[in-house]
């Protein structure tokens, strides 16, 4: 636990100093939401169908920037090797990076939500707690896969390009189910009417978190 907290703390101090990741993720989120808001003529009939997809695509794209950036910091001066030299189980390093990424993504998403509500003309009385729960589960999915795949792309020349190529296809089940539940919640339905989609999200999170714990050792070490 101490190791995980040390890694998360180190990532936060580092990001607080540079703010590179927050600024790029937030700016990108804003641009995507603004662009979609400008180009789509959302009548009330289709608004609840299209806007959840816009929201999740925003999270996906800005998240991939953050995930890629979180390992760039490890690559600078090969700091990751200092981490790998330590007598620390690789699964703890995975968990540390996973929690850092999860918190960074959630912060950006929490800032993005009010902008989305205002631009897409929703009322703040929408089922925000239920929506936040879906966002939390979806973001765990993004972070489990993203942490693992960013590590895979770490030692490759094309890591900025490779991450989205590996990451986007795998994350489709999260995206589909999260959009489905959000659409349903924005249309006034309850969370319990989406139990199968919710189960898929939870199952995905558990499977990929476990896979990350088991596989991280093999992907992070130089061969």
């Amino acid at each position: 636990m101490k190791t995980i907290i040390s890694i998360v703390r180190k990532d936060f101090i580092s990001e607080f100093r540079s703010r590179d990741m927050f600024i790029s993720m937030f700016t990108f989120s804003l641009i995507i939401i603004f662009v979609f808001n400008l180009v789509l003529d959302l009548t009330s009939n289709i608004k609840n169908i299209v806007s959840p997809a816009v929201l999740w695509i925003t999270f996906l794209f800005s998240g991939s920037i953050g995930l890629s950036r979180s390992y760039s910091l490890e690559k600078e001066s090969e700091a990751i090797k200092g981490l790998l030299l330590a007598p620390v189980d690789r699964s703890l390093i995975y968990m540390g990076k996973f929690f850092s990424n999860l918190i960074f993504l959630l912060i950006i998403e929490i800032i993005t939500i009010p902008i989305f509500i205002i631009l897409f003309n929703y009322d703040f009385s929408i089922k925000i707690i239920e929506i936040m729960l879906v966002i939390f589960l979806g973001t765990i999915g993004f972070s489990t896969v993203g942490t693992l795949f960013s590590a895979i792309s770490l030692n490759t020349r094309l890591r900025e390009v490779l991450l989205p190529i590996l990451y986007f296809p795998i994350i489709i089940p999260v995206l589909l189910n999260a959009v489905r539940i959000t659409t349903s919640l924005l249309s006034g339905e309850s969370l319990s009417s989406n139990s199968s989609s919710l189960q898929v999200l939870i199952a995905f999170d558990i499977i990929f978190f476990s896979a990350g714990l088991l596989l991280y050792e093999y992907v992070i070490e130089e061969s």
Partner: protein
Amino acid sequence: MISVNNLQKRYGGISALKGLHFEISKGEFVLIFGPNGAGKSTLLKILSTILAPTEGEVYIDDINIYKTSHEIRRRIGFVSHEPFLYENLSALENLVFFASLYNVDNPLNKAKEILETLQLDVRENELVRNYSRGMKQRVALARALIHEPDILYLDEPFSGLDLLGTSIITNILKNLKAQGKTILMSTHSFDDCADLAERILVLINGEIAFMTSDVNKDHFKQKYLELVSINN
């Protein structure tokens, strides 16, 4: 004792190390010498467990380092030409972070103490990003020593260092040798550290060309240059 048996490393079709065998006694200071691309860095990365060999074994006190990596990592410190530090953290924050990974008691005091030894205490709160190459290298040495390892691997620790940096690191290495630490160092700066070495291992094209206890500078240079010119 470090025992290396038939150590091989291949990158695709290229053999970086071709079946090395050697032993290093506890408390010994061994220099690894060789031309660029001889396999010195690869050897040190494998010994420090951050790179897996293609074949062969490395034992430290009869423990296979790849089967009990965690236990071995506690006993190893590694300084490379890259500092392995977080640039957005200060020297002190870096050392406290790494000390916490090694479960060092009172990491803050230990970090401060080691920074003072390396004459970096005045600038301990500055970001590593703003340090000169020589200062980064000294912090890297502090990182490698924070958990008081018995074995220290150094890969070109003097590259890019000024006279002061070289002298500080040389003095620290002298102290570590006096404390009985086992040290294996690759370098091109033979003159800076020949006096410290008890043995020299010469690597050429991934093979041990020779190992000698004759650390006389003139004898060694003559023999080495003859060998390198033959292999070229």
